[in-house]
Symmetry: C2
Amino acid sequence: MIRNSEATQSRLLMAAKGQFAANGYERTTVRDIAAEAGVNVALINRYFGSKEELFAQAVAIDLEFPDLSDVNKGEIGERLVRHFYTRWEGNYADDLLRVLVRTAATNATAADKIMKILNGQIVPLVTKLTGEAGAQHRASLVATQILGLAYCRYILNLGDDYLDPPDTVAAIAETLQRYLFAPAT
Amino acid sequence: MIRNSEATQSRLLMAAKGQFAANGYERTTVRDIAAEAGVNVALINRYFGSKEELFAQAVAIDLEFPDLSDVNKGEIGERLVRHFYTRWEGNYADDLLRVLVRTAATNATAADKIMKILNGQIVPLVTKLTGEAGAQHRASLVATQILGLAYCRYILNLGDDYLDPPDTVAAIAETLQRYLFAPAT
DNA sequence: CTCATGTGTAAACACGCATTGACATAACGG
DNA sequence: CCGTTATGTCAATGCGTGTTTACACATGAG
């Protein structure tokens, strides 16, 4: 038996993200996670203390939000959708956004994390693009559309027959563009 | 002690919807539901058989989708948003949509129910408005936006400081209008 | 009044879960 | 090779859960 604490911790983290993303926080058991990682259950407590802390670490990594500082204003909407859309085309089972959207429904830690992303990344981005005034409103509108898209893909599992990729990207890009730049009412 | 099985069943159903909406399926215990209803736990099994069946009944009632057959085409988007928006302004703790959006994340029954609403109510509505072609795509886009709005209100608890009611209604109404009627690409 | 039935209560059961502690074994410097 | 430390295993514990069982009480017809 090869022994390497770093590797097993990493395997546990990956397995945790996958399980949490697929089944939510309550439905995934530490036994499932350990089984998928191929290690003993007790190691979760040894290395992470508790299931809750393992979960916290699983959602601790930053969402790699795209850098849009040098993008043409007219293309920002499309870049944003495409960024999220391509993530699940590559079907990352352990994608952080996937974990968050599913688990936030029953776990305050995950909901807080989404709020942190909204306040810490989306609002500042919008502020830089359009100025202070109304940035929080605009950012929230953007959040409703992106999270709704994620919800339909991750939780309802709407496939391409429902959300045809090119059409969907185009339609939602235009929406985001309007939420970002449309003159205030 | 007054004894009335109909009344207690009804109280259990209301309490169940409230608890499921607030905490999701796994986190709400039958004991919590019974306590809120002010009745004994065992009555849940007597009257509903199991927690799962109680839940099924809690989400069995139909969503009162507005009748839009006689509404001006230009106002349908606004009517749609306003219909959902006014529900939570009256803060119905046991609102069905609220229950569904939260529980679908971890409960297949709820996710199926949302799919039934999408396929059985939204798609037909769109079909009637714009014809067969592309109705499923358009309806799905509408779903992403409405569910995203519900997600932000119900799960993230974004208040009026994030989603200012009049602006939000206007912005999203325009989006739905476009998803419904914009010419196909 | 009385008894059968509908309704409510309390305790106990069975199960799955996260967590823990005692023990085994690999890794590795001396 | 030895002994210490890091890493992994196993069984047991305690708790919370949904469910069931046995019992108590109200209700209303005969």
